[in-house]
C-alpha cells in the first residue's frame, strides 16, 4: 500500500517503524527537517519537509496514487484539514488524530461530513483500554468496535454461571439482556452459533454487546464481585478525564488526585460526580488519607512514567487494588515487564496498533466493500465491517427472513453511532455499518453473506 504519514511525533515514528516493517511504501511529511533526518536514516521511507495540509506538498508526496493518508500532527485542526485536502485531491482513505474532547463528542458527524475513514483520539483510546481492564478483570480478551460503543468480549463459561447445557436462544430469553453470542471455542474447534446451539461449561464464549449491556449481562450471571467499584485516579489530564467519565457512567466511584488547582476546578465542572482532590499524587500521606489502601483500583496517569511506575509499586504494596500505570516512553519495557506492577498501558502503542489494525484490514479488503477486518477467535474467524451504501437485496427484508450462509452471524449494526444488537425482526438500512462474524473466508461484499 502507498501510505502518507503527516507528522513525525511519537505516534508518527511508531507507525513508520511498524508499517515499514510490513513492506508498505511510506512517505512521511513533517515541518521539521531534523526529525525527518532521524527517521530517514533508520527506516526505508521517503521523507518530505513541509506543511502537510498544503495541496502542493501532498501532490509532491504522491497523494493521487496513495491508498491511505494518516495525519498525526500535534494539531487537531491541521490533521482534519490534511485529511479533507487529501480526500479532495486524491482517492485515498484518511485517518486523523483528534484529541480535543470537545470534538470527540461530535466524531461521527465530523467523520461522515468530512469523509474521513477513521478518527483516532489517543487519550480516549487509552482511557477505553483502561476502562476495559477495570470492567472485567476476569474477561480473557476484549475487542472494541465502533469507537468502543460495541465490544466483543471473550470469557470462560464457568459452571457457577449456570449457563451450561443451555441453548443460545434460552440464554437471551432468560436473561433478557441485549447481548449476542457470536462465537464459541471448544477445544480447537470454533463455532459461530445459531439460536439452537447448546453451550457447555468451560467453553470460551465471545459475546457482542454495548459496554453497558455487557455489564448487565455479567451482573445477571453473577460475576459482580469481579467488577471494580471504586477507582483512585492519580493525574487528571486528558486520559484521566476520559477514564473518569467512562467509569462514572458505569457507576464506579471515582476519586481523582490532580496537582494543578485550575485543572481541578475544570474537572469538577466537567465531572460533578467525581471526587476531585487537589494535591500532589506522589505525597504518600495524601494517598493514604484519600483511601489508597481501600481502593479497588489505582490508576496512575501522571505525566511522568517514573512517577507512574513508582506509584504502581506503592499501590501494589499497600493495597489489594487492580493497579494500572500509563507509560508514554517505552525504552525500558523489558525492565518494566519484570516488575510486579499490575497492568501497564502504552498509549503510543495503542494508538499505533489501532491504526495498523485498520491498515491491515484495509489491505485485506482491498477492492471490496469491507471497511475493516479483524481476526478473532484465535484467528480462526473474521469479524468484517461493511458499510451499506445503497439499497440492495439485504435491506428490504427483516434479518430472520434473510437466507444467510451457515457459520455466519450479523452481530451488530452501527446506525449513526447507535449500536443495535440485531434481532430477527430488525432491518438493515442504507447508511448503516454492519458487523459480520464468520468462519467463511473471502467475503467481499455485504451481499456475499446470502447463500
Amino acid at each position: 500500500m502507498n501510505i502518507i504519514i503527516i507528522g513525525c511525533g511519537k505516534v508518527g515514528a511508531t507507525l513508520v517503524e511498524q508499517l515499514s516493517a510490513e513492506n508498505h511504501n511510506i512517505v512521511i511529511i513533517d515541518i521539521q527537517e531534523s526529525k525527518l533526518e532521524a527517521i530517514s536514516s533508520t527506516y526505508d521511507v521517503m521523507t518530505l519537509a513541509g506543511n502537510g495540509a498544503s495541496f502542493n506538498v501532498q501532490q509532491e508526496a504522491g497523494v493521487r496514487n496513495a491508498d491511505l493518508l494518516i495525519a498525526v500532527t500535534g494539531s487537531d485542526e491541521l490533521n482534519l484539514l490534511c485529511c479533507v485536502i487529501a480526500k479532495k485531491s486524491g482517492h485515498c482513505n484518511t485517518i486523523a488524530r483528534v484529541r480535543n474532547s470537545l470534538y470527540s463528542k461530535e466524531i461521527s458527524f465530523i467523520k461522515r461530513q468530512l469523509g474521513i475513514s477513521m478518527i483516532i483520539n489517543p487519550e480516549l483510546t487509552t482511557a477505553m483500554e483502561i476502562a476495559k481492564i477495570l470492567r472485567f478483570p476476569s474477561a480473557i480478551k476484549i475487542d472494541t468496535f465502533a469507537k468502543g460503543r460495541a465490544e466483543l468480549l471473550k470469557f470462560k463459561l464457568k459452571p457457577e454461571f449456570g449457563l451450561g447445557n443451555m441453548t443460545v436462544q434460552d440464554i437471551s430469553d432468560r436473561l433478557k439482556c441485549n447481548i449476542l453470542v457470536c462465537g464459541v471455542e471448544r477445544g480447537d474447534d470454533v463455532f459461530i452459533p445459531n439460536g439452537n446451539f447448546v453451550l457447555r461449561d468451560n467453553d470460551s464464549v465471545s459475546i457482542m454487546a454495548s459496554p453497558k449491556d455487557t455489564a448487565e449481562f455479567f451482573r445477571k450471571i453473577g460475576v459482580v464481585s469481579h467488577r471494580v467499584k471504586t477507582a483512585l485516579i492519580i493525574g487528571g489530564g486528558k486520559v484521566g478525564y476520559y477514564l473518569a467519565a467512562q467509569l462514572l457512567d458505569m457507576g464506579i466511584r471515582v476519586r481523582i488526585i490532580e496537582l494543578d488547582r485550575a485543572r481541578c476546578e475544570q474537572l469538577s465542572e466537567l465531572l460533578p460526580k467525581a471526587n476531585v482532590i487537589c494535591g500532589d499524587g506522589t505525597d504518600q500521606s495524601l494517598l493514604m488519607e484519600e483511601g489508597l489502601p481501600y481502593a479497588q483500583s489505582v490508576i496512575s496517569l501522571t505525566g511522568f512514567d517514573e512517577e507512574n511506575l513508582l506509584l504502581s509499586l506503592f499501590a501494589m504494596k499497600h493495597s489489594s487494588a487492580k493497579v494500572v500505570a500509563k507509560v508514554n516512553h517505552i525504552a525500558f519495557n523489558d525492565i518494566i515487564g519484570g516488575l510486579d506492577i499490575g497492568s501497564v498501558i502504552y498509549p503510543k502503542y495503542l494508538t499505533a496498533n489501532k491504526i495498523i489494525k485498520y491498515v491491515r484490514g484495509a489491505q485485506n479488503s482491498m477492492g471490496s466493500n469491507v471497511e475493516t477486518l479483524y481476526k478473532i477467535l484465535n484467528n480462526q474467524a473474521e469479524a468484517l465491517e461493511f458499510s451499506i451504501r445503497q439499497e440492495s437485496a439485504i435491506t428490504q427484508t427483516p434479518l430472520m427472513d434473510l437466507n444467510l450462509k451457515s457459520d455466519l452471524l450479523i452481530c451488530c449494526i452501527n446506525r449513526n453511532g447507535n449500536i443495535i444488537i440485531p434481532r430477527g425482526q430488525d432491518y438493515i438500512l442504507p447508511g448503516d455499518t454492519v458487523m459480520v462474524v464468520t468462519t467463511q473466508k473471502g467475503l467481499r461484499d455485504i451481499n456475499d453473506i446470502l447463500k
Binding site: 466511584r253 488519607e289 483511601g291 481502593a295
Partner: protein, 479 residues
Amino acid sequence: MNYSIIRYILGWIFNFQAFAMLFPGIVAIIYGENEVWDFILCIILCGIIGFVLTLKKPKNRVFFAREGFVAVALSWIILSITGALPFIISGCIPNFVDAVFETVSGFTTTGSSILSDVEILPYSVLFWRSFTHWLGGMGVLVFLLMILPMNGGYQMFLMKAESPGPSVSKLVPKIRTTAMILYGIYMAMTIVQIILLLIGDMPLFDALCTTFGSAGTGGFGIKNDSMGSYSPYIQVVTGVFMMLFGVNFNVYFLFLMKRPIQALKCEEARWYIGIIAASTVAITVFITNIYGSVGTALRHAFFQVSSIITTTGYATTDFDLWPEVPRVILVMLMFVGACAGSTGGGIKVSRLIILVKSVGKELKQIIHPKNVRKIQLDGKVVEHETVRSVNVFMVAYFLIFAFSVLLISIDNTDLVTNFTAVAATFNNIGPGLGMVGPTGNFGIFSDFSTLVLTIDMLAGRLEIFPLLILFMRDTWKKF
C-alpha cells in the same frame, strides 16, 4: 476510615471516665454517702470496657482529619452516656434522656439543668455535675493527648477537632507540651480562684464546685438561686474569673513567656473586654433604678454580662425581670460567646471580628470595585480559607439554630422560651429567658425536645462539624 485507632481512642475515653469518677467517689466517702457504691459500679463498668478496648494496640496508624473528627464526636457521645450513669443509678435523675441532658450540659460546659431543686442532691452527685464542667472546659481529648503515648503528627487532627475557634495554633513545637501548658494554666487559675473564694469565707465544697463551674465556663449552681445568696465579694471574684477564663489562653501563654506587649495587643481579647465593658455600662444605666444604688447595679450588670458572654450561665439575680433593653443585650451576648482558644462557647469573638471585617471589605468593594484588600487580625493576614470556613460555619450555625427552634416548638411553649432555650444550649450558656430563665429549668420540655437540645449542646461545644460528619455516608466508607 481507620476503625482500629478510633476504637483505641474510645477505649481511652472509657478509662478516662473511670478515672474521673474516682473524684466524686472520694467525695461520697468523705461525706459518708451511699452513692459511693454507684460510683464504684460505674468506675468498674467503664474500666472494664476501657481495658478491653485498649488491650490491642492499633497496628494501622493511618490517621487523618476525618478520623480526628469522628474520634472526637464519638468520644463526646460516649462521655455523655457513661457520665449519665451515676445520675440514673443513684436515682437522682431516673429518666435516661434527662440524665444524658444533664451530663451533656455538664461536659459541654452549658449548665442548663432539668432539675428544679438541686439542693436536695447528694454532695457527690453535685460534685460530679460541677466536675464535668471542669473536665469538659479544656477538652477531654486535649487531656488525653497529654497522657497518651501516641506518636506521629496526627494528634493535631484531634486537637483541631476539639478546640474551639476558627483556627488552632500550637504554642510550642510539641503538641503534648502545648496540651500540658494549656492544662497548667487552667489548673493554676483554678487553684487561684479556689483560694480567693476561700478567703471570702466560702465553704470548701462550694468553692470547689463554683470554681469548676466558672473555670469550665459551665454554670451548674449548687444552690437553687445559683450565685444569688453569696456575698458581693464572692460574686465579684467569680465574675472576674469567669471573664478571665473566657480569654484566649494564648494571651496567658504570652504573659508567661514574658511577652506582655504582644499579649496586650491581642485583638480578640481587646474586643472581648470592650464588649464586656460597653454592655456592663449600658445595662447598669437601665437597671440602676431597680437596685437603688449604682454600685449594686454595676455589680449585677457586670456579673451577668461576664456570665453570659463567657457562656457560663451563673446568675446573681433574676435577669428575666430586667427591662427589655438589658434582656436583649444579654441575648445578643449569648451569640457573641467567648474568645477562641478559651473554655467558653458561642460563636466566638474572633469569628465575629472576621465577619464584621468582611462586611467592611464588601462595602469598600462596592465603592471601589477593583479594590484589593486582605482582612487582617492581630496584624496578620487572615487566609481566604479561614474567612470561608467562618462563613460556612455561620450558615451551618443558623440553619441548625432555626431547625432546632422549629423542632422544640412542637412542645408549644412561647417563642421567647424556645428561642432562648436553643440559644442557651447551642451556645453552651445555661439559662435563657422566659420559662428557662435563671429561676426556671429545662424540665418543662418533652423527651424529644430534651434530646434536640442535647444534640444542640454537643454540636455547639464541638462547633458543629465533628457532629455533622457522623451523618455523612462518606465518613464511614473505606473509599
